[in-house]
C-alpha cells in the first residue's frame, strides 16, 4: 500500500502554510503582498487594537455579571479581522459564537452585540444593511447554511459571497463536509473559514483528525483549500480576497484554514485552560502575536505610532462604556415579547399562554 501513502503525502505536501509577514514583521512573500493603501493598512491595525480592547473589556464585564455568554477573541484578531477585511457590505456573514468582532465591523452596533450576549432579543434585531445571521452555537451548523445562502446569492445573480467561520473542532462535524460538498457541487460563492486555534475546548488538534492539515479536507469536496498563518493579518486578508475573487468569478467555494491561538479560555462559562495548555505553549504563541507583528511592520513603514495606538485604545474604551450604557437602557425583555416572536401569527395555544403571561407581567 505504499502507493496510497505516496498519494497522501503528495497531497499533504501541497498544503504549505501561506505567509506574508513573519514574526518580526518582515515581508517574506513579496509576490503575494496584497494591494492595500496606507490608510487601509492602518485601518486593519486600528481594528485589531480596538478588538483586543473590546475583548479585555468584555471579559471584565462578564466577570462583573454585566455580559452574558462570552467567548474570548484575543490572539485570533488577524484570523477574524483579516478575513473580514476582504469582504464587502453585500456579502453575507454566518459567524460562529466567537466571531462577534466580524459582525461588529460589518456594522452591528456594539450595544447590540452586548445585548446578544445577554440573550436579549434586541441583540438579534440586526440593522437591515448588516447581511448576517446571529452567531451560531451549534458547531458546524453554519457551514450547511452558508451553502444555502451562497446558492441563493448565485441564483439571484448577485456579486457577493457567503462567508462562514468555525473552529478546528468544527471540521470534525458532518455539517462541515456537507456544507463544503453542497457548495462545491453547486459551484456556489462560499468561503469556509476554519480557525484552527489548536484546541476544541480542551481537545488538541491532533486528536481531531489524522489529517496533517485541515485545509486538505477541501480536496474531498473538490474545492480549493489553503492553509494560512492565522497570526499574519496580511496573509489571511490576501487568502480571503483570493477566495472572494474566485467565488465572484464563478469558480466556486474555498476552504481557508487559519493557524491561530486563543489566549483566553474557550468561553467565560467556567473553562480553565491550564488543565490542557502549558505556559510554554502559551508563550510560544504569544511570540507570534498578530498585533505585535503588524505593529512592527507598520512602524517600519512609519505608519503607526504609540500615540495613534493610545488613541484607538481610548476610543474603544469610550465606545464600550457608551455601548454598555445603551445596552443597560434596553427595556427588560418580557416573556410576552418572546411569545410574540414565535410565529408571524400566534397559534391558539400561544394566544392562551400570551394572555397568561400578560396577566402575570401586569402584576
Amino acid at each position: 500500500m505504499t502507493i496510497l501513502k505516496h498519494v497522501l503525502e503528495s497531497v499533504e505536501n501541497q498544503f504549505e502554510t501561506f505567509q506574508i509577514l513573519n514574526e518580526d514583521g518582515k515581508i517574506v512573500n513579496k509576490a503575494d503582498m496584497p494591494e492595500l493603501s496606507d490608510e487601509e493598512l492602518k485601518e486593519l491595525m486600528r481594528r485589531m487594537v480596538y478588538t483586543r480592547v473590546l475583548d479585555q473589556r468584555s471579559i471584565a464585564l462578564n466577570r462583573q455579571g454585566r455580559l452574558g455568554f462570552y467567548a474570548p477573541t484575543a490572539g485570533q484578531e488577524a484570523s477574524q479581522l483579516g478575513s473580514h477585511f476582504a469582504l464587502e457590505k453585500e456579502d453575507y456573514l454566518l459567524p460562529g459564537y466567537r466571531d462577534v468582532p466580524q459582525l461588529i465591523w460589518q456594522g452591528l452596533p456594539l450595544h447590540q452585540a452586548f445585548l446578544w450576549s445577554r440573550g436579549h432579543f434586541a441583540g438579534g434585531q440586526f440593522p437591515e444593511d448588516v447581511r448576517a445571521l446571529f452567531p451560531q452555537i451549534i458547531i458546524g451548523a453554519q457551514y450547511v447554511q452558508a451553502a444555502g445562502v451562497a446558492l441563493g446569492i448565485k441564483k439571484r445573480g448577485k456579486q457577493a459571497v457567503a462567508v462562514t467561520w468555525t473552529g478546528d473542532g468544527g471540521t470534525s462535524q458532518g455539517d462541515f463536509y456537507e456544507g463544503m460538498n453542497f457548495a462545491g457541487a453547486y459551484k456556489a460563492p462560499a468561503i469556509f473559514i476554519a480557525q484552527n486555534n489548536g484546541f476544541a475546548i480542551s481537545v488538541p488538534r491532533e486528536k481531531q483528525s489524522s489529517a496533517k492539515t485541515l485545509a486538505q479536507k477541501a480536496i474531498a469536496a473538490g474545492i480549493e483549500g489553503i492553509q494560512v498563518d492565522g497570526m499574519d493579518v496580511l496573509a489571511v486578508y490576501a487568502a480571503t480576497k483570493h477566495a472572494r475573487n474566485r467565488a465572484i468569478n464563478g469558480e466556486g467555494p474555498t476552504l481557508i484554514e487559519t493557524l491561530t491561538y486563543r489566549y483566553g479560555p474557550h468561553t467565560m462559562s467556567g473553562d480553565d485552560p491550564t488543565r490542557y495548555r502549558s505556559d510554554e505553549l502559551n508563550s510560544e504563541w504569544e511570540k507570534k502575536d498578530p498585533l505585535i507583528r503588524f505593529r512592527k511592520f507598520l512602524e517600519g513603514k512609519k505608519l503607526w505610532s504609540e500615540e495613534e495606538e493610545a488613541k484607538v485604545i481610548e476610543d474603544a474604551k469610550n465606545d464600550i462604556k457608551e455601548a454598555i450604557k445603551k445596552a443597560d437602557q434596553a427595556p427588560k425583555q418580557k416573556v410576552t415579547d418572546l411569545i410574540g416572536f414565535m410565529y408571524e401569527e400566534l397559534p391558539v395555544n400561544l394566544q392562551a399562554q400570551m394572555e397568561e403571561y400578560q396577566a402575570k407581567e401586569s402584576k
Binding site: Y92, L94, F121, A122, G124, Q125, F126, L133, F134, I138, A141, Y143, V144, Q145, A146, A147, G148, V149, A150, L151, G152, I153, K155, R156, A162, G174, D175, E178, G179, N181, F182, A185, L338, G340, F341, M342, Y343, E344, P347, V348, N349, L350
Partner: protein, 325 residues
C-alpha cells in the same frame, strides 16, 4: 375538476406555487429528472427548469441547511426529505435552527420553509422508512406540523403551508399516496392551517385521528353504525398547533372520546389531546378517554407490521369500551 390521487394533488400544489411565486424552490434527493422516489415532483423540473427544481447531494442535514440559507436569501424553499425516518439526519436544521430564527432575530427574519416528507406504515418499506415521528416535531416550538388525509385537503393544505411565513413540516402518509382518488379542483385554493375537520358527524362518541388513521376511524364508524352507535370523526389535519376548539365542541356534545394515532403510545400527539380534553371538558365526560396506538416498540418492519399497526378493529373495540363504560 379532475380525479386525483393524493400524490397527484401534492404535485399539483407544488406546480401551482412554483407558478405563483418565483421564490418557490423545490429540491431534494432524486426530485429532479427522476421526479422523486414516489414521483411527487414528477414533471416539475421539466416544466420549471433546473434552477427552480433540482437534485441535491445525498445528505439530509445539508438539505436542511440549504433550505435555511436559501430562506435567508429571500427564497421560499420546499425541500423534500425522502423518507421521514431520515429526520434524525436533518433534526438540527428542523428542530434547532429554522424554528428559532424568527425568535432569535426578534421577529426580523423569517423562515418560510415547507419540509415535505413521506411517512407512515403499512407499505412494507425497509427499516427507518415507516416511522411516525410527528410527535418529535410537534413538541418543537416554532414549527407547524401538517398531515393531510385526502387528495383534496393535501392540495389546499400544501399550498397554505408553502405560503406560510413560518416553517412547516408537511407529512404525507405513504399508504394514502395512491389508495384512492377524489375530485380535486384544478384551480388553486387554500385550507387554513391549524383547523381540524369533522369528517363524519355523530352524537354518541368522538374519535380524534389524523393521517391514515382517519380512514380506519371512518371504517370503524361505518361498522358501528350497524350496531346503532353514532360516531363523530375529527381529522386534526394539523397536529401542531392543534385545533382544540373543534375537539372540545365535539367532546362536549358526545361526552365520550377515543384518540387514535399510528405512532407508539408514549408521549405522543394522542396523549396531548387526552390531557387537553381532561383539562377543558372533564365534567362533560361519561367515560375515560381511551387511546388507540401502536405498541412502544421499534417499528417492526415489515412482516409483523400489519398486526402492530392500529386498525379499524382496534378502534371499534375502544369505541365500544367507552360507549359501554
Amino acid at each position: 375538476m379532475a380525479q386525483m390521487t393524493m400524490i397527484q394533488a401534492i404535485t399539483d400544489a407544488m406546480r401551482n406555487e412554483l407558478k405563483n411565486d418565483e421564490n418557490v424552490l423545490v429540491f431534494g434527493e432524486d426530485v429532479g429528472q427522476n421526479g422523486g422516489v414516489f414521483r411527487a415532483t414528477e414533471g416539475l423540473q421539466k416544466e420549471f427548469g433546473e434552477d427552480r427544481v433540482f437534485d441535491t447531494p445525498l445528505a439530509e442535514s445539508g438539505i436542511g441547511g440549504l433550505a435555511i440559507g436559501l430562506a435567508l436569501e429571500g427564497y421560499r424553499p420546499v425541500p423534500e426529505i425522502q423518507f421521514f425516518g431520515f429526520l434524525f439526519e436533518v433534526m438540527d436544521s428542523v428542530a434547532g435552527q429554522m424554528n428559532r430564527i424568527r425568535f432569535r432575530t426578534g421577529g426580523t427574519k423569517n423562515q418560510p420553509i415547507t419540509v415535505r416528507a413521506p411517512f407512515g406504515g403499512g407499505v412494507h418499506t425497509p427499516e427507518m422508512h415507516a416511522d411516525s415521528l410527528e410527535g418529535l416535531i410537534a413538541q418543537t416550538p416554532g414549527i407547524k406540523v401538517v398531515i393531510p388525509s385526502t387528495p383534496y385537503e393535501a392540495k389546499g393544505l400544501l399550498i397554505s403551508s408553502i405560503r406560510d411565513n413560518d416553517p412547516v413540516v408537511f407529512l404525507e402518509h405513504m399508504k394514502l399516496y395512491r389508495s384512492f382518488r377524489e375530485e380535486v379542483p384544478e384551480e388553486e385554493y387554500t385550507i387554513e392551517l391549524g383547523k381540524a375537520a369533522v369528517k363524519r358527524e355523530g352524537k354518541d362518541v368522538t374519535v380524534v385521528a389524523y393521517g391514515a388513521m382517519v380512514h380506519s376511524s371512518l371504517k370503524a364508524a361505518e361498522e358501528l353504525e350497524k350496531e346503532g352507535i353514532d360516531v363523530e370523526v375529527i381529522d386534526l389535519r394539523t397536529v401542531s398547533p392543534v385545533d382544540y376548539e373543534t375537539v372540545m365542541e365535539s367532546v362536549k356534545k358526545t361526552g365520550r372520546a377515543v384518540v387514535v394515532q399510528e405512532a407508539q403510545r408514549q408521549a405522543g400527539i394522542a396523549a396531548n389531546i387526552v390531557a387537553e380534553i381532561q383539562e377543558r371538558a372533564i365534567l362533560h365526560l361519561e367515560a375515560p378517554v381511551l387511546r388507540v396506538t401502536a405498541a412502544d416498540t421499534i417499528y417492526p418492519f415489515s412482516e409483523a407490521e400489519d398486526v402492530w399497526l392500529p386498525n379499524h378493529q382496534d378502534i371499534v373495540e375502544k369505541i365500544k369500551a367507552v360507549v359501554n363504560f
